[in-house]
Amino acid sequence: MDRRDFLKHTAGTVGSLAAVNVLSPMLLAAPAARPDLAVVHGASPEKIVRAAVDALGGIRRFIAKGDVVVIKPNIGWDRRPEQAANTNPEVVGTLVKLCFEAGAGKVKVFDRPCNDPRRCYVQSGIEAAAKAAGAEVSHIDDRKFREVKIPKGVAIQSWPIYIDILEADKLINAPIAKHHGLGKLTLSLKNWMGVMGENRGRIHQRLDETLVDLATIIKPCLTVLDAVRILTAHGPQGGNLADVKRLDTIVAGTDQVAIDAYGATLFGLTGADLGYVKEGARRGLGVMDLGKLNIKKFEA
């Protein structure tokens, strides 16, 4: 090695070291600057979903190439999108597109509805929107529930859960924000009721504990709460357009307790008003104190 080479080499090393020294604080700081919740307002559901996911670090933070992804919207009722009883179809469609943009291998969309499944899938517009975006939309197959143990369960210690949920690489929770007669509101935690088998109506006897029990075994990598339209009364199925309020908002994040706590504020409530949010926070599943969260609120 001659002198020139030595100098070059040394300079290169120093240069690269310097570069690392300059960059590393930025690398470290990036996660800290990343918000816990992204709350985006805007007229286009597609735009605000994309903006919210981007604000959280982009879809590639959540979905890897080749992943089998389940997106679980609320398709519980035979209602049209403007009645705000099911997740907005454009929100679901956008999430499907995002997953494929991140290289997902397969995206599945399903729910176990309360009304006739065919009518729910069609009338909600979700089947068409998700299929158009390339998702595999299927109806629940009763054979495909597996009894799953819930080691940290308080109200339920095991329950049949849909196998596609158990076998997926990634789960995305895509609930809608609406009124509910017992839980007051149904937001992200309650959305997982849609993957429970058997006589699930029984869980209302201890709804708050059960929803948190369920959250100890079902862990979405991303939750996108649809508040494009919210249902303020006669939930969870509504039917009267006078009960629907247009908020054009998306609340996204990874902490379902935090999302539900924020979701409560859309209805003039707080997380502390919702039993399952309190229970979730108490059991360390997430943060309900909005003051402790980094919330990025913006227009898109």
Binding site: D78, D116, R118, R119, V122, H234
Partner: protein, 519 residues
């Protein structure tokens, strides 16, 4: 050549019939999207019976005039070439090797007497025709018996394979299962009361073919009798040219059980097997205006007897508690859009289309709940399924308007009954336990089920705050989803009875009738 032309035609009609049968199922849209009742629309017997008993012209039956015209011109070609039940009879009859001269009992007149019995009943408002009409019969028995059984068999087989947990095997089976689900299987396993009975009756009717080919068509079919009468002076006739040596080949093949010497347009099924069978090619069908030599003598006494029995049947059927005008049957919950009971019974032909199409499998066939004449008419059994709030498919497939087509606005307010609570079983009412399922699923925009928040004591004397559900009688439409979904699933703590039903003037509860009779 003629034989195969006929067989292919029969096959195509049977396939069309089965295709429409399979499409008699919700796809999730408001409209069914297929003319599921098309074969029934073409049926002049159902049209005439409905005209007589319901005293009404149903638009869909305009198609039946086409069949009347065809028959008047060409005779019973429908029987030989198109009737799906007739084709099934052919198939079963072909399972036996027939040798020598066929045995013909000659009970041809029975079907005319049955026709007279049925139509004279219709005149006094009793609708028994659909029980014997071949098209109505086939839809009903297939829908309620063999088709659910087929689903059960395939689902059971696939279940067994699935449980083996052999990956390759289950993948192949699931692929096949998916294909079957898209084509021939029902969206969900159908369950019907009397399924075994209805299957057995259909099998029995088909097995008659092993005694005599097309036994049903020769002796029993009232539609065949009617078409025979219409086609009595048909222009298309069988002709025997000179050179016939009476070898009997045509007699052996005759589907109608006729003899060469006594051919008659009313009994001939126009299958034209004789044309094919004749070794000398002397038998053929052609147009001629020559009057037919036949005479149809049923016997005046027998005709009077059949007619009298038809007239009397209404009295026999209705002198039972089911027709006590002062007491409604709580379990007689009719589909949304059903006419008032006497008019409903006068129209319903028990074809089973509504039960086949019902999205929740809630519509079940009656046995004696609606009286003997109401057998196999539809009732809603909320313990089995509920009336889907926005669904109007049963009215869309009803061939006679016994269930009329409701607009979405009419459907939203149409009551089929009223729900009430059994407080002794309800969790918040009797057991200090929260539950809100009935309220959650209640579909009226302002929920008919409302809560009273009360503090009750549990066994240890502790206060428990529960929401006790109540029914708002003015809002409840009796859809029964609360009963179907009640977590106390064996005997729900909320149940629907027929009281308050929109279609009835008498079966009312509130002083002010909120849905308004006859709306």
């Amino acid at each position: 050549m003629l034989l195969w032309t006929r067989r292919v035609t029969q096959g195509l009609f049977l396939l069309l019939f089965l295709f429409l049968f399979l499409q008699t199922e919700s796809k999730g849209a408001d409209q069914l999207g297929y003319p599921a009742k098309l074969f029934l629309d073409f049926d002049p017997l159902l049209a005439l019976a409905t005209l007589l008993s319901g005293r009404t012209l149903v638009a869909g039956f305009a198609f039946s005039l086409i069949l009347v015209a065809i028959t008047a011109l060409l005779g019973r070609v429908f029987c030989g070439w198109a009737c799906p039940l007739g084709t099934l009879h052919n198939l079963v009859g072909a399972m036996k090797r027939w040798k020598g001269l066929q045995r013909v009992r000659g009970w041809f007149r029975a079907k005319y007497l049955l026709l007279i019995f049925l139509l004279s009943g219709s005149v006094v408002g009793i609708q028994l025709t659909g029980i014997f009409d071949p098209l109505s019969l086939l839809v009903r028995h297939l829908a309620l018996g063999p088709y659910p059984a087929l689903n059960y068999a395939v689902n059971g087989l696939m279940d067994t394979v699935y449980r083996t947990d052999q990956r390759t095997l289950t993948q192949v089976a699931d692929g096949l299962f998916g294909l079957l689900k898209k084509t021939v299987l029902a969206f969900q396993q159908p369950h019907f009361t009397q399924g075994a009975l209805l299957t057995a009756l259909l099998v029995a009717i088909l097995l008659l073919n092993l005694s005599e080919r097309r036994f049903w068509c020769r002796y029993l079919c009232p539609l065949g009798a009617m078409l025979g009468l219409i086609g009595r002076w048909a222009l298309l006739k069988r002709e025997v040219a000179e050179g016939c040596n009476a070898c009997g080949a045509c007699d052996r093949e005759c589907q109608g059980g006729l003899k060469t010497a006594t051919w008659s347009a009313t009994e001939c099924l126009y299958c034209m097997a004789c044309d094919d069978a004749c070794p000398k090619k002397t038998v053929s069908f052609g147009f001629s205006r020559k009057p037919s030599s036949e005479s149809l003598d049923l016997g005046r006494r027998k005709v009077l007897l059949a007619g009298g029995a038809g007239l009397a049947s209404v009295a026999v059927s209705r002198a039972t508690p089911a027709f006590d005008p002062n007491r409604a049957n709580p379990g007689l919950i009719r589909p949304p859009g059903a006419r008032p009971e006497p008019e409903f019974l006068a129209r319903c032909v028990k074809c089973g289309e509504c039960m086949k199409v019902c999205t929740t499998n809630a519509l079940q066939p009656t046995l004696l709940e609606a009286g003997a004449e109401g057998i196999w008419s539809p009732i809603l059994v909320p313990a089995k399924g509920y009336c889907e709030f926005k669904c109007t498919l049963c009215g869309q497939v009803c061939p006679t308007g016994a269930i009329r087509v409701l607009t979405p606005a009419e459907k939203a307010e149409w009551r089929i009954g009223t729900a009430m609570f059994d407080r002794g079983r309800c969790l918040p009412h009797a057991h200090a336990t929260p539950c809100i399922v009935c309220e959650e699923v209640c579909p009226t925009p302002t929920k008919a089920i409302w809560f009273e928040e009360v503090v009750v004591k549990d066994r240890s004397g502790q206060d428990v705050k529960v929401k006790q559900p109540h029914v708002d009688l003015k809002l409840c439409i009796g859809c029964g989803i609360c009963e179907t979904k009640c977590p106390i699933s064996d005997r729900p703590a909320v149940y629907v009875t027929s009281i308050g039903e929109t279609r009835s003037k008498k079966n009312q509860l509130l002083l002010e009738n909120p849905s308004g009779y006859g709306a």
